[in-house]
């Protein structure tokens, strides 16, 4: 399923999508879904825009692929089983669950997700034995990881106006 040069190329595109998220005040994560060397879906975090905390870049991109399958009368199961996902940050526990359910075989990602990571950082949903939750998937980590971390740092330095006020902050 591709090689280093190809991964690099798609990751570059994913980073462009992540930058868009940052500019829109969303968590800077970008995601690309590639099937037969074609991008079928791309997504960035849309949590604030949709007021739905589950609208992570991966979920948005997955919905685009589903729409494509619908428009092209393709069986989503077959398409997802041949898919590579490129994402700037390690998928969270929820997204890792979604990737399993869709039987996506391979994920190439940038930096680790220390807060919510589902591919080893907090839990390893990607590899765990879950016979009733789709299939496990492979991860290739570390592509442009520093760049991905840098974008997250920029984001978290800004105040998230949508997050509930934390108890710690009230004391200030």
């Amino acid at each position: 399923m591709g090689n280093g040069a190809e991964w690099q190329r798609w990751m570059e595109e994913a980073f462009r999508v992540a930058k868009e998220a940052l500019e829109s005040g969303e968590v800077p994560v970008g995601c690309l879904m590639v099937y037969n060397n074609t991008v079928l879906g791309q997504g960035r975090n849309e949590v604030n825009e949709t007021k739905n905390a589950t609208r992570h870049a991966e979920m948005v991109a997955i919905d685009q692929v589903l729409a494509w399958c619908h428009d092209h009368s393709k069986n989503p199961t077959e398409v997802f089983e041949q898919m590579v996902m490129y994402v700037t940050v390690e998928p969270c526990i929820m997204c890792a669950g979604a990737l399993r359910l869709l039987k996506i075989p391979l994920v190439v990602y940038g930096c680790r997700n220390e807060r919510f990571g589902g591919c080893g950082s907090v839990l390893n949903v990607a590899a765990d034995d879950l016979p009733n939750t789709g299939t496990s998937f492979q991860c290739i980590a570390g592509y442009r990881a520093e760049e991905a971390v840098e974008m997250l740092k920029i984001f978290y330095k800004q105040e998230n106006p949508n997050a509930p006020k934390s108890k710690a902050r009230k004391k200030d």
Partner: protein
Amino acid sequence: MLQPRGDYLTASRVSQQKCCRTLQMKEHMPPSQEDHDVTAEPRCKRRRSMESESCSWNILPVLSEEASREIEMLQAYAAPVLNKKETSRLLREVSALHPLEGLRHLKRVRARRNRESPHPLEMLLCLTLGKEEGQVPPLSELLPEEKVNCFGLGQPFLVLVPSCPPLTRLQFQEASAYWPTSFHENKQVTEALTGQLFSKEEKARMQRYMEQAIEVAHQGAEKGNEAVGAVLVNPATEEVLAVGHDCRRISNPLLHATMVCIDLVACAQGGGAYNFDSCPLCSFAASVKEAPGIGVTDRFDDADSSSILPYICTGYDLYITREPCIMCAMALVHSRIQRVFYGAPSPDGALGSRYKIHTQKDLNHHFQVFRGILEEQCQQLREKSQ
């Protein structure tokens, strides 16, 4: 409803145990007309009628791994205090030498259980860590003379001590059978474990919410979806906010009932990612949507309103017929849900069975989970979709 006299006589002879079980079931019954009938009669006479009714269920808290496991024991050395007057001095010197860091829950001195013993107290000296099992070393080896004056202590012996502090009353009872421990009881957890946390009225309400979830699960299944239903409730107003069933067949393989409810709330708050026109049963309560101050599209733009309006699902309860999967469980963390009540467990379930996402360390939000509401009917639903 009443059983014939003869049946009562037989039932009462069967066994005391069955009678107790009936009483316990009675505790968890929602209020019904049964509560008004003859109370002078022993309750076991109604055993048969209770069992024939499918509405008997038990609500159980799903606690963290730490709170639900059996406490591990460590081997340690203790010694009898032969001279009681030396106790406080020995305690000071032994504790200085072996502070037992990380085992603060252990009491250092216990009263000897054998009351006829001439030495009523026993003192915990140190763990056996790194020492050979079986052979108890002499006092001089455990407590070097230059550090501790062993006057007043008897021959050391092996004991088992609990390795971590007890979190539940059950763990406390288990732990203190080995060695006395301190216990900071969480009253709410104890009440939940003994089935006293929720009143009859609350349980009746829970049952109604779950019945609604079961109903919508059936309707969703008729359209070819998995038979899973969910109801999102605002416990402060006791209002059902959203009702959703699994939509994976008709629209999207990831639209599990939980994800549907989360997006319905988002829709009502002026956002949302999906259109549920093709699943009219998946809906947000119109009354709440139209109420002033809730669901206004620009609520995020007004800093003052954020203090009164909830952030996504903050403060809400979810009732769902089966235990959510890992995707849905984490979606509930992201959505800041307050409590989840589910009927039947799922094999890969992430709120108790395979993971306990609601108590997962390192995550930024935790919530309470209870299982068992209308478990039997929910279990039947689960089997139906397999």
